[in-house]
């Protein structure tokens, strides 16, 4: 294997970009391991507690681009208490100390403090890309530091974060010399921003491809920005409300006509339905459409728009589209890969305007579907049996590429039998209020060979299912089980037998650990594979077994 000098191998490895392939390359022999190690620039860490910052830096000293994920997914639904963990600061501190040449940072469900953002902005002179998804703990002050200090910043992408808005004109902190922006997304910010600064920033950023505005950006500003940036590929509107007979509306129509690069459209938190026709000219090229916050659009307005979107690959929509509307999607969007149907009323999805009918239509009409999120109405027992037999069987059979699935409802073990049998590509599965017995969980664990993440709540799965195949969990990133039938004793057994797993119990009662009976059922268990053992930052209510 040593026929080539190292530099040649390194050059060859440059072409290998996927993490999996890179991991395989490093296993071939010592020399390949070493070359790959020093040439690796991008690292993906799906669970920030599976490794420590220090070990990461030692392993990949040439690190330039890091993706980190923190809290378990069910934290999105308030099932994980505050202060559970997932802190960014130790990572920034360690990388700054070791003078890592960090250029890109992508974070999901991490706790990001203003302090860490400030340290980040000052420690990495080549830093160019910050993407924060579902994070919390920071304010616009932290954003101001990023804007002011990251001279080469190309991307600032904030998605669904809880940001404390100090209205400190963070946008104005981008220096006048900063012309490198490619992507700017501040849709999740609640506060006002300096509109003049925004316009100037967009005007001096010729490479700007992605711009997502927040609600505070009014309709007429949108038109001005589009005039400045006709090269946009991804647009998120701010407020989209205006009088369609007005001058501003006509100007917008004209501006959009020249934006023929737009492939991705979102926003519309405030929307006047009669203004939507201005969008039609760009629909034919759209590959991603996110109307999941557009509560102001009714089903026919949605279908009128979607009828123009023949190239759509990803669609996020509200359930007010209805089954008929989904029929339109099924017959129009033949390239559809990802569909998410959210409840119009997120507090009571029992009144969802879609049923299994819409789902079956889409699964039949869109052969490329591989990602599905679907909230539907309460079903009767009779319908459930039909659904379990036809629908889910039909869906997983006709969508063999299915990678991620969330299920809830009065589903029997039979459904999981189908899933284990057919959904061979399934990587992530969320189950709630479903199943009859341990068999259900076992069908999934045994059948879904590519399963990486399994999260379960309020299902009758217990110790037998948990302990049947303990080695399986080392092939997965994590398992979450809450309000199931798993006992403390079983969790302890698992922790003891599998040293490469961290088994954590989240205990929100006042109980003290050593008093407890192993037979007691555990409320929340989260286990994950790790190479660094117990984490050091666990709060009191998290027990590390």
């Amino acid at each position: 294997m040593n026929y080539f000098p190292d530099e040649v191998l390194e050059h060859v490895f440059d072409f290998i970009t996927s993490h999996k392939d890179r991991n395989s390359v490093s296993l071939v022999c010592k020399s390949w391991y070493k070359i790959e190690k020093f040439s690796r620039q991008k690292v993906f860490i799906g669970n920030c507690y599976s490794i420590s910052p220090e070990r990461l830096i030692a392993r990949f000293p040439g690190l330039k681009s890091l993706t980190l994920k923190g809290k378990p997914h069910f934290a999105d639904f308030n099932l994980v208490p505050d202060d559970w963990g997932g802190f960014l600061y130790p990572w920034i501190k360690a990388m700054a100390k070791s003078r890592i040449g960090l250029e890109e940072l992508r974070l999901k469900r991490m706790v990001v403090s203003d302090e860490s953002l400030e340290l980040l902005s000052k420690s990495f002179p080549n830093f160019r890309s910050l993407v924060l998804v579902s994070c919390e703990g920071f304010s616009t002050d932290g954003l101001a530091a990023i804007a002011a200090n990251c001279k080469l910043l190309r991307e600032l992408d904030l998605q669904e974060n809880e940001v404390e808005d100090h209205r400190g004109h963070w946008l104005s902190c981008f220096p006048e010399t900063s012309t490198s922006l490619v992507s700017l997304n501040f849709a999740c910010l609640k506060g006002e921003i300096n509109l003049a600064s925004l316009e100037r920033l967009v005007a001096r950023s010729p490479n700007l491809k992605s711009l997502r505005l927040n609600r505070a950006v009014p309709f007429d500003m949108l038109q001005k920005l589009l005039m400045r940036a006709p090269q946009l590929v991804d647009l998120g509107t701010g407020s989209y409300v205006h009088d369609p007979s007005s001058e501003a509306y006509n100007k917008l129509k004209a501006a959009i006509q020249s934006c023929n690069s737009i492939r991705s459209l979102s926003g519309f938190l405030e929307v006047a339905p009669r203004c939507m026709s201005a969008i039609y000219p760009i629909c034919k090229n759209l590959t991603f459409l996110n109307l999941s916050y557009a509560a102001g659009l009714q089903s026919n307005e949605l279908t009128n728009l979607i009828q123009h979107c023949r190239k759509l690959q990803r669609l996020w929509i509200l359930d007010c589209i209805g089954d008929k509307g989904l029929g339109v999607v099924a017959s129009t969007c033949k390239e559809l890969q990802e569909l998410r149907v959210f409840p119009s009323d997120p507090f009571d999805a029992g009144n969802a305007a879609v049923t299994e009918e819409g789902l079956v239509l889409v699964s039949a009409g869109c052969p490329k579907l591989n990602s599905l999120l679907y909230f539907c109405q309460q079903m009767t027992n009779a319908a459930l049996i039909t659904v379990a037999k036809n629908c889910f069987g039909a869906i997983v059979r006709s969508c063999k590429g299915l990678k991620r699935l969330s299920l809830s409802g009065l589903l029997t073990d039979q459904v999981f039998y189908y899933i284990g049998m057919y959904a061979k590509q399934l990587e992530m599965l969320s189950i709630a209020f479903a199943g009859d017995s341990d068999k259900g969980m076992l069908y999934v664990l045994n059948g879904c060979k590519k399963l990486r993440k399994l999260e379960i709540r309020d299902c009758p799965f217990g110790d037998a299912a948990l302990l049947e195949d303990m080695g399986k969990y080392e092939t997965m990133r994590s398992l979450w089980m809450s309000s199931c039938e798993v006992t403390l004793g079983a969790c302890k057994t698992l922790a003891k037998k599998m040293p490469n797993l961290n088994v954590e119990i989240i205990n929100e009662s006042e109980q003290v650990e050593f008093n407890l009976d192993d037979r007691l059922k555990v409320d929340k268990m989260y286990l994950y594979r790790t190479v660094v053992g117990h984490r050091k930052d666990a709060p009191e209510f998290v027990w590390l077994l």
């Binding site: 009571d348 029992g350 809830s408 009662s509 006042e510």
Partner: protein
């Protein structure tokens, strides 16, 4: 969804001394299901984290009407027999059920003092018509409601026998 048949199979006791007193947590759970009793009969599930819509989306799902995040929908509320009118911000409430609770808080005394007569909630819409509250989706309601009145049933012809709370919660869509 957790509905009939499944009921609320919340395991009774999670972590606690065997056979011992209830932990704070299970006390909380009981209170949860007690509060939810009424909601259950309406098919509403009040379990934590359900429906599984992420908290960001829950907080940002209803577009503000006038663009500012502090938009308000203050309307006058009058109740037959109560000495003063009140004002209530409809935007602060998530739905009819929530509104019913708020109205009870505002007029609790007057409701109790009234001698066993029943009340019906009505509202004046944008067209000036008086409508029975509860028929249309919540967002539509708060947009069109100009003022609210809690009317004595005896003053009303043709309305059914309803307490204000039930009238408000009663089947919106089904």
């Amino acid at each position: 969804m957790a509905k009939e048949g499944l009921g609320f199979e919340i395991t009774e006791l999670r972590l606690g001394l065997p056979g011992g007193s209830m932990t704070e947590k299970s006390v909380k759970k009981r209170v949860f299901s007690e509060i939810s009793e009424e909601e259950k009969s309406n098919g509403k599930s009040q379990v934590v984290g359900w429906p599984p819509v992420c908290s960001y989306r829950k907080k940002n799902s209803f577009g503000d009407k006038d663009g500012s995040k502090t938009s308000k929908f203050y309307v006058k509320v009058s109740m037959d027999g109560a000495p003063f009118l009140r004002k209530i911000d409809l935007a602060l409430h998530k739905g009819y059920s929530d509104l019913a609770t708020a109205l009870e808080k505002l007029f609790g005394e007057a409701l109790r003092d009234a001698d066993s007569c029943e009340f019906v909630p009505i509202y004046e819409d944008k067209d000036g018509d008086w409508m029975l509250a509860g028929d249309v989706p919540w967002e539509m309601f708060i947009e069109s409601c100009k003022r609210l009145r809690i009317m004595k049933k005896t003053d009303v012809k043709g309305f059914g026998v309803l307490q204000p709370r039930e009238a408000l919660k009663g089947t919106m869509k089904e």
